[in-house]
């Protein structure tokens, strides 16, 4: 099987890349100013030498850097990512607890932006030089250029404060005790604002890219041939133009998908969505290095996985692409 060989090769390379990323991240963090023990002590508002010594010893910060690195790498080999300094909980537990919330948010935003972006882009391409096409492009430009946090805040002001339609923050209604379908509906309601906010920016990019690459594809000879054959314009749009215009969109979608774990810091913060992005931001602020390294690891792993998937999807979308070519 060609695919099997391709995937094995890619996975082998991925392990090497991941290993290098781990070492690189570790060294990068050593360069950052700020001693985790001092920050923990600082947060406590009171400290003495004994307290600092206990903390450093507990987290192995009293060891030379190469010993720390060795311990860290051998830990990862057994899927042990160490303890969070601040929360005193295994890093893996923290990340796994936050992962579903983040994947729900970024996954919804991904599907939403991709689907709506391609539809809007295709519509704009079909309505070139018409006012409706220009309107779509103008909107896309606005969403592309507006800062995410501002859109988020304005959405909260309009839909939560003024209209009262949607909850402003959180993932579910605390204390309501919903289960089953009611819980799913509740989470869905909480999901609308953050997912839409997050989707807008990428949607704008997909729209612009779909339109541009469809317009380019529509100049090709095979489109003229298709027209000459007397095919309906709709069929030409869908089967001949859109399909050929898809490759750059797949590239971009692969990039976006790779960012799904760590790419929603702002949205998660504004909407109090309990995901990985917030965890990462807090870990950075508190110099919670083990936690930070753990999140880096998962983000990197996800980027690699989606790169592989993207390559496979290329082959599905365009059978002309073969291994090695």
């Amino acid at each position: 099987m060609l695919y099997a060989r391709l995937i094995t090769m890619r996975l082998f390379k991925a392990v090497i890349v991941l290993f290098m990323i781990v070492i690189f991240n570790f060294c990068l963090i050593q360069l950052a100013p700020g001693d985790p023990a001092a920050i923990l002590a600082g947060e406590a508002g009171a400290t003495d030498e004994e307290f600092l010594r206990q903390l450093r010893e507990r987290f192995g910060l009293d060891q030379p850097v190469y010993v720390q690195l060795w311990r860290y790498i051998s830990g990862i080999a057994t899927l042990d990512f160490g303890y969070s300094y601040r929360q005193q909980v295994p890093v893996l537990d923290l990340i796994m607890a936050r992962m579903p919330a983040t994947l729900l948010l970024t996954g919804t935003a991904f599907v939403l932006s991709l689907a709506l972006g391609i539809v809007a882009g295709a519509m704009a391409a079909a309505r070139v030089k018409k006012p409706s096409g220009s309107l779509i492009m103008a909107l896309a430009l606005v969403f592309y250029a507006t800062p995410l946090f501002w859109v988020a805040l304005m959405a909260v002001v309009l839909f939560s404060v003024t209209l009262g339609w949607l909850p402003a923050y959180g993932m579910y209604t605390v204390g309501a005790g919903h289960t089953g379908l009611a819980l799913a509906l509740d989470v869905g309601k909480h999901l609308v604002l953050p997912a839409t906010t997050l989707a807008l920016f990428f949607m704008a990019i997909y729209t612009r890219m779909t339109r541009a690459s469809m317009l380019e594809a529509s100049q090709q000879d095979y489109v003229k041939t298709a027209r000459a054959k007397g095919l309906a314009p709709r069929v030409i749009q869908r089967r001949h133009i859109l399909r050929n215009a898809l490759l750059p969109i797949i590239t971009l979608a692969g990039l976006q998908a790779g960012q799904m774990v760590g790419g929603a810091i702002l949205t998660e913060t504004v909407f109090a969505w309990p995901g990985i992005g917030r965890l990462m931001y807090e870990a950075l602020q508190q110099r919670d290095y083990n936690l930070l390294l753990g999140i880096f690891f998962f983000s990197a792993a996800l980027v690699i996985v989606f790169n592989i998937i993207t390559d496979l999807v290329y082959r599905l979308a365009d059978p002309r692409i073969k291994e090695g070519s």
């Binding site: 950052a32 100013p33 700020g34 001693d35 001092a38 920050i39 002590a41 600082g42 947060e43 406590a44 508002g45 009171a46 400290t47 003495d48 030498e49 004994e50 307290f51 600092l52 507990r58 601040r86 929360q87 005193q88 923290l94 607890a97 936050r98 919330a101 805040l153 909260v156 002001v157 939560s160 404060v161 009262g164 402003a168 923050y169 959180g170 993932m171 579910y172 605390v174 204390g175 998660e268 913060t269 504004v270 909407f271 109090a272 309990p274 995901g275 917030r278 965890l279 807090e282 602020q285 508190q286 110099r287």
Partner: protein, 518 residues
């Protein structure tokens, strides 16, 4: 000048004292409030940072509680007495108290908590423990503390956050930090831990077996976790939250929120901590090493302006090193009023040559950034060449710990007694690299050391008072640090939440007495 908010609080305080014709409290209802930032854990005694204290102060208790005048009140100890030499303190514990898991609370728990648990884990308790020779359980409900010498602040150290009572039957013989029970804290307090959905909410429920008859009135408390300041303000505006504790919204949002209907605000409940904002000035090198320069800084700053504009008129401009809530304040000292002319004279006298001075703002949000800008402007007006250098919390800690600054903002708790919260900033024995909370400015004065050390162990209080008055005169002249403001942190709440703040640490243990008039 009083701002409208400050005036409203003052009026409410007066009204509060005249309207104590007690209404009949109603039972039931759940409070929704906010905790910011999310605490790292809830085992008080193991973790003492502000958010942990605020949530866990309702789960755990200390032997004593303190009024807003810092008078000790019975809590887990029913009564206490002291020997004539001030060295032996006996606490009589309340009977019939149980832990949340049903086990009885006894004198053994007190001995274990103080002598074993806190001695190992808790730096602020260690500061008191070094004066204690032995702790013994006389019988099941009596504990005797023997001090090596009288220690002035002894009786004020039993607040829940400092000397939390932890259950011996759960922790004895285990690795305290790895104990499974840390995920489900067990205390004696009015509320029990129920659930913590990290990043979303911490839920406490009523302790049905609480030893004080009828208390608590509330069925539970939901502490929501909302990382963004604007979203926290919205959560109050749209009616979800009943209470906004200190530090949950930016200062510039406060006037807007307090103008809402059914909204009350109070500054009370911080008396024990009495947060004191200061300006570290590096006494070791540069212009700040000169006493006249530091005095000039005090004259140059318009502290009333900072309070009225940046802090909504809340708080108090301090006279000197001892705040207004501190015991033994010497109020005969001449205040450092805003006097730019006097500041310029002092700078001329020392021959200040325009050398650059680096100022680190406190990285705790917008108000502190603006405050640094205001001070910078004040200092430039008298001819001081100031530049501000922004850092994040980690960088700020490190630079202060390494003494790599000229001036820096901070604020410190005073813990009710000069020997706990004030002397630590000025004692030369407290100069040590690596911590931003000790004698960071590097001030050394033998007489000051002597006076502080003597005063800590002098007995009775009249002896202490004389020593502390003298030390304040020296500090007032030397200005080791700048005294900026005794901060007023408002608690914003719906007016139908009653009896919310009833003690000197009311922000942390207030829900015990609170009830909903709905």
């Amino acid at each position: 000048m009083k701002t409208p908010l400050a005036a409203a609080i003052a009026a409410a305080a007066m009204f509060g004292t005249t309207a104590v014709i007690a209404e009949e409290p109603k039972s039931g209802g759940t409070i929704d409030t906010i905790i910011q930032p999310e605490p790292p854990g809830l085992v008080l005694g193991m973790i003492q940072n502000a958010p942990t204290r605020t949530v866990a102060g309702n789960i755990y208790e200390g032997l004593l509680r303190y009024t807003t005048e810092l008078e000790p009140q019975p809590q887990l100890a029913e009564s206490w007495d002291v020997s004539d030499d001030g060295r032996t303190w006996t606490f009589h514990l309340r009977e019939g108290v149980t832990w949340h898991d049903g086990e009885p609370f006894t004198a053994e728990d007190v001995v274990f908590s103080a002598d074993v648990f806190h001695r190992e884990l808790n730096p602020s308790a260690r500061a008191v423990l070094q004066h204690i020779e032995s702790i013994e359980a006389v019988d099941e409900h009596t504990v005797e503390f023997t001090l090596s010498e009288p220690f002035g602040p002894f009786l004020i150290s039993f607040e829940a956050g400092t000397f939390t009572m932890v259950p011996k039957h759960i922790y004895e013989g285990t690795d305290f930090r790895d104990n499974e029970a840390n995920n489900h804290p067990i205390g004696t307090g009015p509320f029990k831990f129920d659930n913590w959905d990290r990043g979303t909410v911490i839920q406490l429920v009523k302790n049905e077996d609480y030893y004080e008859e009828g208390l608590p009135y509330l069925d539970g408390i939901n502490w929501h976790i909302i990382p963004d300041g604007a979203s926290r303000a919205v959560a109050y505006e749209n009616g979800t939250m009943d209470v906004l504790p200190y530090g949950t919204v930016e200062n510039f949002d406060i006037p807007r929120l307090t103008e809402m209907d059914n909204t009350c605000v109070t500054e009370a409940g911080h008396e024990y901590f009495s947060p004191f904002a200061m300006l570290w000035m590096n006494n070791r090198e540069g212009p700040t090493a000169d006493k006249r320069f530091r005095q000039a800084v005090m004259y140059a700053m318009d502290r009333e302006f900072a309070r009225d504009v940046l802090w909504n008129g809340l708080g108090n401009v301090p006279l000197s090193a001892f705040g207004s809530n501190a015991r033994f304040q010497n109020d005969d000292l001449e205040p450092y009023d805003h006097d730019p002319e006097r500041a310029r004279e002092l700078l001329d006298e020392m021959g200040y040559d325009d050398e650059e001075v680096r100022l680190l703002p406190l990285p705790y949000g917008e108000t502190w950034t603006r405050w640094a800008e205001a001070v910078q402007q004040n200092l430039r007006e008298v001819g001081i060449n100031v530049t501000t250098e922004a850092t994040d919390v980690g960088g700020w800690n490190q630079r202060l710990g390494d003494w790599d600054y000229d001036m820096a903002f901070t604020y410190l708790y005073q813990y009710g007694d000069p020997a706990l919260g004030i002397s630590r900033t000025y004692l030369s024995s407290n100069i040590e690299r690596g911590s931003p909370w000790n004698n960071v400015e590097g001030y050394e004065n033998e007489r000051v050391d002597e006076l502080f050390n003597e005063a800590a162990t002098a007995f009775p209080d009249e002896e202490r008072e004389a020593l502390y008055r003298e030390v304040q005169e020296i500090l007032h002249e030397d200005v080791p640090v700048g005294w900026l403001l005794e901060l007023g942190f408002p608690t914003i709440y719906r007016c139908d939440v009653k009896d919310l703040v009833t003690s000197g640490v009311g922000v942390n243990d207030g829900f015990k007495d609170a009830w909903l008039d709905r």
